[in-house]
Every structure is written in C-alpha cells, then in structure tokens.
C-alpha cells in the first residue's frame, strides 16, 4: 500500500511557472500592433483608450457581431460604423462572436462541423479585425482558454487587439479536439505568460463570467467570489491584468447594478473592465415586450456608468436576438435606442439612492470574499499548489461549478420548498423556481391513476439539475413523491439507490452527448440487480460518436433498448400511467 496523493492533480503535471516563462519567451518575439481606433485617438492600447474616454466622461458602448464569414462580418462592421455616424454617434468596440472551431488547431477544424460565427483564417483577416473601422475588437471567445490559446493570443496581439479572452472558457470542451483537459489548460497557461509579458503594452485578459462556471451558480455571492478567484490567478499569481464582464443572464436591474458595482469594487485602479451585457434571457419572441426589457436594463447599466465612471462599456442586444442572428441594421437600431436613453440618464443619477445599492454591494462582497477564502483554503487542503496557475485552473475545472459552489459557497439563507434558497439568488435560479411553480399550477387538478404504486427515482447524468427538479415538482403535484438521486449520477449509483428504494421507475435527465452509452450501462446495472423496472429518459437525447462532428440523436436507439423517451412532462405522466409514449 502506498500513501494516496490527490486524485485531482496528476503527478507528472508540468510546472505552471515554467509554462509562464515559456509564454513570456513567445511574448519577447511578439510585437503588439496598433488598431485603427487607437491610432485615431492617439493611444497605444484599448486600455489607454478606455482610460482616456473615462477621463473625458464618455459613455462607451460595445456590440456583439459575428456573421457566417469574416468577409460578411467585416462588411457589417463597416455598415454599422457608417450608419451610426449618420445618426450622430459611434460605437467604441465590438465583441466578435466566433465559430468555436477557432479554438482548435487547424487539423481539428477540418473534422469539426461549422458553427455560427466567422473564422479568422489568414494573417490579413486578423489585421482586418482592427483596421476595418475605428471600432476596437475585443476578441473574447475561443482565444485564451482554448487549445489554441497561444497561437490566437499572439495573432490577436500582433493585430492590435489587447483585450483577449475568455478566461471563463478554460472549462469548455472544444469540437473535434482529442487533447486532454491538461493539454488545454497547459496551452492556456502558456498564453497567460504571454499576456503577462505584454501587460505594459496594454494586454488584458478578458473574462465574461456568464460564459463560465458562474452561469451555473445559484448565488450571486458565488459570482463575486469566483471573480476574486480569477483575479487571484491572473493578478496575484501570474502578474498579468484581468478585466471582467458580466450581465447576459441577469434581468433583475437592481441586482444587476449591485453585482456590477461589486465587480468594480474588486477591480484594480489601473484596469478598466470590458463591458456590462444586456440581458438576453428575458427576451421572448414577442419583440414588443423586449423593448421594455431593453429599456430598463440599459437605463440601469448606464446610470451605473455615469455615477461610477468605471471605463466599462454597455452592451445592448437587439430585441430580435431570441429569434435570429441580428442584422447590422438591428444592431444600429438598438444602439440608437441606447444612446437616446443615455441622453436622459444624467438627469436621473442624482435621484437614485446609491447607498441602498452599495449596501447590497457590500454584502455581496462579504459573501464573495468568504467563498474565495474557502475555495483557496479548500484547494490548499487538497494538495493544490496555490502559486501554480496550472494546478489551480486544472483543479477547479475538474471539480466543476456545482461542486465548487456546494462545497465553498455560503450556506443557504432559507428553505424554498424542497430546495434551499441561496443568499442572493441568481436570476437563473429564480427563473427555475418560477418555472417549477408554473408546472405545479398547470398540473393542478390532474391525477395519476394510482399514484401510490409509483416509487420514482430521479437523476441527472451531468451538472444540469433544473430539469430534474421541475419534473420532481410535477410528480409531487400528482401525489408522487420522487426520490432525488442528484446530479452527476452514474448508472451503478442510480441502480443501487433504485434497489434500496424499491423503485418502480427511474427517470434520467441527460444533456451532454452520453444518452445511449449511459442507457446501455444503466440497463446492465439494473439487470445485475435483477431490477425489472420502468426506465425513462428526458433532456437532450444525443450521443457523441467517434468520427461524428456533432452528437447524434439517439431517441430511436433508446426506444429500441426499451427506454421510454420523454419529451415533456406529459410524456412522463403518460408513461407512468402505463400509456405508450
């Protein structure tokens, strides 16, 4: 027997500090270019531009743009620049919405399916991102954090792009790339060394929280704590610069303003955050309603910028976003609306009770600080070297968002039915609660034929739990009290629990391209326990196959195995009632 070492960090992991040195060496061979915007305003980098505009009191705006090709996208940028100029304003920067294949090496790109967004395929394309119009690109996606971290960061810097992300994407899986999580994070850490070496030239690591683990958190305090963790890695451990953005998943304007100023409170003086994102989750197909959402969201974000002068831009999203990729004219439209709101906003700033907002901010900061300290403390106890960026990033990636928040987040403030209520519930969590209530209401009065004969065990194969919990609510409404197995449940675990519980059915929620493999193994495990019970699957019923560019629909395969495929709560109820689905 030997002493066990942590399962989290492989023994043969390279030293993260040496990777930073290797990245810095690449930095010595890289010259940071100059963008058209910076040239126009006589500054060397976007950071200097932001600082200059902040000093002048300018409200900055940014847009999301990304059409099928770079050529289409470049034409859209030119058009938008021209039309906004005609309307008397300009947009400061843009977020390129790129194809995920940008994150993988060229050989892997050939095997991967095309996704929404352009690719930058030549040196000219890279240069054109900064020279097409005096609008500064922020290359937030598929850059640092991806398997192509080093190459993309070097190309972006050379072209004059100095805000490069996306820190939060280090936990993403990239299409058709066969490398390991270690390989991906190694590349990222090298790129961070490169970014650190160019900090004096304005190189800034960019993070958009809603693209990463925070999107799965239930508590806004955890958002802040996670931002502190990213700052710890980038600022304290690596010595680079980090700029954080946030907002797309939050529609509560007060909480959004409070979270924004909490993020600003932990931002170093020499840093300007990139942008605050308009909410998109409240957008619906009814575009008229979206105007209201947009107006309120933008007003609060603008008020915060006017009062605190952070140097961050506001990012309005076209009201059509829920139904299609917005056209250039729709982007112009939403910026026109935003500029009109900005004209009225200054008159409102002094009528706003900022002390109330700051009180929420301070509580968020307290909660976030505790999250951060517990996380650092916990990683240290797991044997993670707290000065090695590779170990830090790999450890949190492997733990995952759910585990990190449940292990290191603050205790819930109360009980909300069958689950705990976070201290500062995120909008995502609150939306889930609303959905649960709606399901319960919709099913009120309906009954199952014999609810007492059902003993149902519910499980999620991955991190997604809201779907499982909504089904649980539906069953409860029909007098069937399900047993929750939890998230990330494996077939052997689920079968054990089904056996102990004397289950009559197991219901599996799955989303991550594993439905068929999981079902096959689950059926084997149930058979090994001589359990002949109903097996129901819901969620995204697809499977990753070797050689396939995207996960394939496996609903028919599941049916062939005898699994009941459920595409709605009604299907589940039908299956339980013995009806064919």
């Amino acid at each position: 027997m030997t002493l066990e070492r942590s399962n989290l960090i492989p023994r043969d992991l390279p030293d993260g500090r040496e990777l930073l040195v290797a990245g810095a060496e690449i930095g010595r061979q890289t010259i940071v270019g100059l963008s058209l915007l910076c040239e126009t305003h006589g500054v060397r980098s976007e950071l200097e531009y932001k600082q200059k505009m902040r000093a002048e009191g300018r409200l900055m705006t940014t847009m999301n743009v990304g059409l099928q090709t770079w050529a289409d996208t470049a034409r859209a940028i030119e058009l938008i620049h021209r039309e906004t100029a005609e309307r008397g304003f300009r947009i400061d920067r843009y977020q390129m919405q790129m194809d995920r294949r940008m994150g993988v090496p060229p050989a892997s790109r050939l095997r991967a399916a095309k996704e929404t967004g352009p690719m930058l395929e030549s040196a000219d394309d890279w240069v054109a991102t900064t020279r097409t119009a005096p609008i500064q690109p922020g290359l937030g996606d598929m850059m640092v954090g991806s398997p192509m971290s080093v190459e993309n960061a070097r190309s972006a810097l050379s072209a004059g792009v100095t805000y490069i992300g996306n820190m939060c994407q280090f936990a993403w899986k990239f299409p058709s790339w066969s490398g390991s999580d270690v390989d991906q994070v190694v590349e990222m850490v090298k790129a961070l060394g490169l970014m650190a070496s160019k900090a004096d030239d304005g190189a800034t690591m960019q993070s958009y929280l809603d693209d990463g683990f925070p999107a799965q958190f239930r508590n806004f305090g955890s958002y802040i704590g996670w931002a502190m963790f990213e700052r710890y890695i980038i600022n304290d451990v690596i010595g680079a610069r980090l700029a954080i953005s946030y907002g797309g998943l939050t529609h509560d304007p007060v909480m959004k303003a409070a979270v924004s100023i909490a993020l600003e409170a932990i931002t170093p003086e020499d840093t300007c955050n990139p942008f605050y994102h308009c909410n998109t989750t409240a957008y619906v197909v009814d575009h008229d309603r979206n105007y209201g959402t947009l107006g309120v969201d933008m007003l609060y974000l603008i008020l915060v910028q006017l009062h605190y002068r952070t140097g961050a831009a506001v990012l309005p999203i076209p009201i059509t976003e829920a139904t299609r990729i917005p056209s250039p004219s729709e982007i112009v439209q939403v910026h026109t609306i935003t500029r009109r709101i900005a004209e009225y906003a200054p008159a409102l700033v002094d009528f706003f009770d900022w002390t109330r907002l700051e009180a929420i901010r301070d509580r968020l900061l307290d909660d976030g600080r505790q999250f951060f300290e517990r996380l650092i403390d916990g990683l240290g106890s797991m044997g993670v070297d707290l000065r090695d960026p590779l170990q830090l990033l790999l450890a949190v990636r492997r733990l995952g968002a759910g585990q990190i928040e449940s292990q290191f987040g603050s205790a819930p403030s109360g009980d909300h039915g069958d689950h705990d209520t976070p201290l500062f519930p995120t909008d995502t969590f609150q939306d889930f609660v609303s959905e649960k209530l709606a399901v319960a209401e919709r099913l009120a009065g309906r009954t199952l034929r014999d609810p007492g004969r059902h003993q149902v065990v519910l499980a999620s194969t991955d991190v997604h739990e809201f779907g499982m919990l909504i089904v649980a609510e539906a069953l409860s409404a029909l007098d069937v009290e399900p047993i929750l197995a939890g998230t990330g449940v494996d077939p052997d675990e689920l079968s054990d629990l089904a056996l102990e519980a004397g289950a009559s059915a197991v219901l599996v929620s799955t989303h991550n391209g594993m439905a068929l493999t999981y079902a096959q193994q689950l059926l084997r495990e149930l058979e090994a326990r001589e359990l002949d019970i109903l097996v129901l699957f819901g969620g995204r019923l697809n499977q990753d196959f070797e050689g396939s560019e995207t996960p394939l629909d496996v609903r028919d395969d599941l049916r062939a195995l005898g699994v009941r495929v459920c595409e709605s709560v009604d299907d589940i109820l039908g299956a339980l009632d013995g009806a064919a689905v």
């Binding site: 066990e4 494996d490 102990e500």
Partner: protein, 464 residues
C-alpha cells in the same frame, strides 16, 4: 484471593464526600479499561477530577480480575470507591459482520454503524446472501451480525431473504436488525427463532441522504453486556465491580464529544496502538448534495488494521514513501511486541513510525477528492469528512508516553498530509491519563458529570 483483595479496595462503603450532578450523587469512583495488553484504572473524585491512574498487564486469559486488582494496587493512593464503570477491548474486541442490500449505501451505513459502536468489522457483506456469503460470515466468527437493507418504505425482499439465510448460521451470534422499518420486524422475527440475542432498532439508512447510527450503538452496548461479556470472561468482573461493561471504542466515541468545548467544535482522536490505529472524530459531518451519496456520520470511527507500532509496524513502512529504510526495525517490532525503545536510534525510529502512522490514519479518515473513471469522462468529487477546522487533536497510545516530543510528532504528521481535509490549526493534547474513554463511560450515566470531568480536565490540560 484476587477477588478478596479487589473487594477490599473497591466495594461500596462509607463515602468521604459526595457531589450532586444531574440529580445524582457522585462520590469517588473507579474507571476500568481492559485493553488487550494492559488494564488501566483511573480514580475520579466527586468534583470530576481524575486524580490517579495506573495500569497492570491484562489477565483475561486467566482471570481478568487479577489484572484489575494489580492495576488498583499500582495506584499511588489507596482508598475506597463508591462506584465503578468498565470497558474492554481485550480478547480480540467485539467482532461484528455488517450486512446490507448494496455495498455503497445500506452496506456502508451498517459497516460505519458497527465501527462506530466500537466493533472490529470482520466481514462486510452486501446483496442477497448466498451460501458462499454465509460461509464467509461463519468463517469470520462474529459476536454480532448487523442486518440492514432498504430505505424505510423501500425494498423489503432483500432484508427478509437475508434474515432467512442468516438463520442457517451455526453458533448463533447475536443480531441487530436495522433496515427498512416496514420489514425489519419480520426480519427480526425470523432471527428470534434461533437466538434470544436479537435487537430491533431504527434503520441505519432510513432515507436517501441520511445515516442513523445512534440506535445501533445502544443496541451493541446492550448485547455486549448481556451476551458477550460472559464469553470473554468479563462477567465475573462485572459482578465484582457491580458494573456493566462495554466495548472501549464505543466509550471513546461517546467521550469524544465531551472534549468538544461547546459541543459544536470538531474534535479528532488518534489512538495509536500496537496492532491498529483508530481515528475517531466528532463534528463536521460532510455536506452532501446527492441522494446517491451516503453522508459521513457526525461521530465517526475508522480503524486502520495495517498501521500499528508493533504488530502493525511493517504496514506503516508499506504506507510510507521511504518506508524501506525502516523495514528492518519494523520487522523487529512485529516479532517482539513488548519491545521498548532504549537507544537514540530506537527513539528516532519510534518517532518516525508514529508520525507516519498518525499522518496516514488521519489522511484516510479525512475528506478528499475522489475520481471516478467513466466512459463519458472522469468525474471528480469531494467526499468525506472535512476536519480542517477541528479545534483539538487528542493523541493517545503507549508510544506517546515514551516519545520525547509527542505533540511535535503529531503536528508534523498532520502538516505532512497535503491532499486531504485534515486539521490545520488544531490544539494537540496527549491523553496521558486516558481521559476520553473515562468520559465516555461516565457519559453513559450522566452527560452532566462527564461534561464536568471534561471541563476540569481541559482547564488543567496544557499542550505538551
């Protein structure tokens, strides 16, 4: 002869003073721990102070009372005792088999319950017992079998099948039935036909995400006193001292919470013996978020059967990254368990073995990251007990009496663990007076008096 000598020192006679606690009058008392090698006795004053301790070789093979009498004779002060309480881990301790429906859930809960009740788990079975499983149980020669299976309202067939199978065991050990509340009474009824030593208690795994060990502990104590002490030759001692007798680790588990200041602090005890190393902890039962996980009990005991200072010394070498350097010394200790260190080299080896054993035992007891390799990728999770905020580590065992700087050894052992949730800033106490088992014995009768004893001890104790 021996009984006469003991009686003259122990029997109830006029008290010098009394102390009223919890409605009871506490006078001077004697606490007895019959270990496999030594019998330890402690004298408790009415105010709760342990004023005297002594030991003598255990004589369980012959007459356990001889060893007790000798230990009492070794006390520095003689006097009369108004009451006595006793525990024992002699003659191999309490041997139990745990049986559950699944290994990971009710099976694990049953094993934890047996360990927490002070037993040595000599076999752990799960699933529908077949004849081969019965043979393994038979071969393990248990004193007790703990039968669990099914959450309350869940599976009934498993526990009923297993009860019917267990009827076939020859030698009829005692049974504790702690499974699905809707089926346990029928399972117990099956077993009542073969022995009178059957206890029906609350389910150890009553519902997903819940573990319940208290009731089982109490049942073990009852069966141990009623049925097992006689087999171990402890019955005469019980008559002599007018006391009961329970497994020593059970007393330790009950005593440890008394050392937890406000009863909310996490406290850890490491008992480094010759053959095994026990770790007990109270507090910091881990949070769990999934119904498929069995929670970690608040009061938990683990036994490292491969780590001991004499018979278990080679196992320590196996667990050390550089253990080969000590292998020769370890082997010598295994062959000569009565060895006492005398040279500087002996003491250095003793310290290194103790440090490694404490570190490994604490690491195994504490929470950690585990990885599950699955076709859809590795899953990482944090499981187990988070002891980082423990306020106190108590180290006990003969080795700590001989070490020059026992506290330093324990601290170094803890600091050497880099990837588990072991205590970080805990105060370290060396339990020279074997106070924890004493507290546990008293707490079974009066928590208030045990608390008084603990407070008195902690007020006086200094980090050594």
């Amino acid at each position: 002869m021996a009984m006469t000598r003991l009686a003259s020192r122990v029997q109830v006679e006029g008290a010098a003073s009394t102390y009223l606690v919890d409605g009871q009058r506490w006078r001077r008392g004697l606490l007895v721990d019959i270990g496999s090698t030594f019998t330890k006795v402690s004298v408790v004053e009415p105010g709760g102070q342990i004023v005297d301790t002594a030991m003598a070789p255990t004589t369980i093979e012959d007459d356990v009372v001889i060893g007790i009498t000798a230990a009492v004779a070794n006390l520095s002060r003689s006097g009369k005792f108004e009451w006595a309480l006793a525990c024992s881990s002699a003659a191999g301790g309490l041997r139990m088999v745990s049986v559950g429906l699944t290994e990971a859930l009710s099976g694990r809960a049953a094993a934890l319950a047996a360990l927490g009740a002070g037993a040595k788990v000599v076999a752990a079975e799960a699933g529908y017992l077949d004849d081969r499983a019965l043979q393994r149980i038979e071969d393990a020669r248990p004193h007790l079998v703990l039968l669990s299976g099914g959450v309350d309202g869940g599976d009934e067939a498993g526990i009923l099948h297993n009860a019917r199978q267990l009827r076939k065991l020859s030698g009829a050990p005692g049974f504790i039935v702690a499974g699905n509340a809707f089926a346990s009474n029928r399972a117990a009824a099956e077993l009542c036909g073969v022995t009178s030593a059957v206890e029906l208690v609350e389910n150890v795994f009553p519902q997903p995400g819940t573990i319940n060990l208290d009731d089982t502990r109490q049942a073990v104590r009852t069966l141990f006193m009623q049925h097992i002490t006689r087999a171990k030759g402890l019955d005469r001692m019980m008559v002599e001292l007018r006391t009961g007798c329970e497994p020593t680790p059970l007393a330790v588990s009950r005593g440890l919470p008394m050392m937890s200041g406000s009863h909310s602090e996490t406290v850890v005890l490491v008992d480094l013996g010759g053959a095994t190393t026990d770790v007990h902890s109270v507090g910091s039962g881990s949070t769990h978020s999934r119904g498929v996980d069995l929670p970690v009990p608040d009061v938990m005991r683990t036994v490292e059967g491969d780590l001991g200072m004499r018979w278990g010394a080679p196992g320590i070498c196996d667990a050390m990254p550089d253990g080969d350097a000590l292998r020769e010394d370890a082997e010598m200790r295994r062959l000569h368990p009565s060895f006492l260190p005398s040279t500087t080299h002996d003491r250095v080896v003793e310290r290194r073995l103790a440090e490694a054993a404490v570190g490994v035992a604490l690491e195994r007891h504490s929470g950690r990251v585990v990885v599950r390799h699955r076709p859809w990728g590795d899953r990482y999770s944090v499981t187990g007990k988070d002891l980082r905020d423990a306020s106190l580590i108590i180290a006990t065992g003969g080795v700590f009496i001989h070490l020059d700087e026992p506290t330093k050894t324990v601290r170094k052992a803890v600091m050497g663990v880099s990837d588990a949730f072991v205590p970080r800033n805990a105060r370290i106490l060396i339990d020279h007076d074997y106070v924890v088992y004493a507290l546990g014995l008293v707490a079974a009768h009066s928590v208030a008096f045990a608390t008084r004893m603990a407070n008195t001890y902690l007020d006086q104790a200094e980090e050594t």
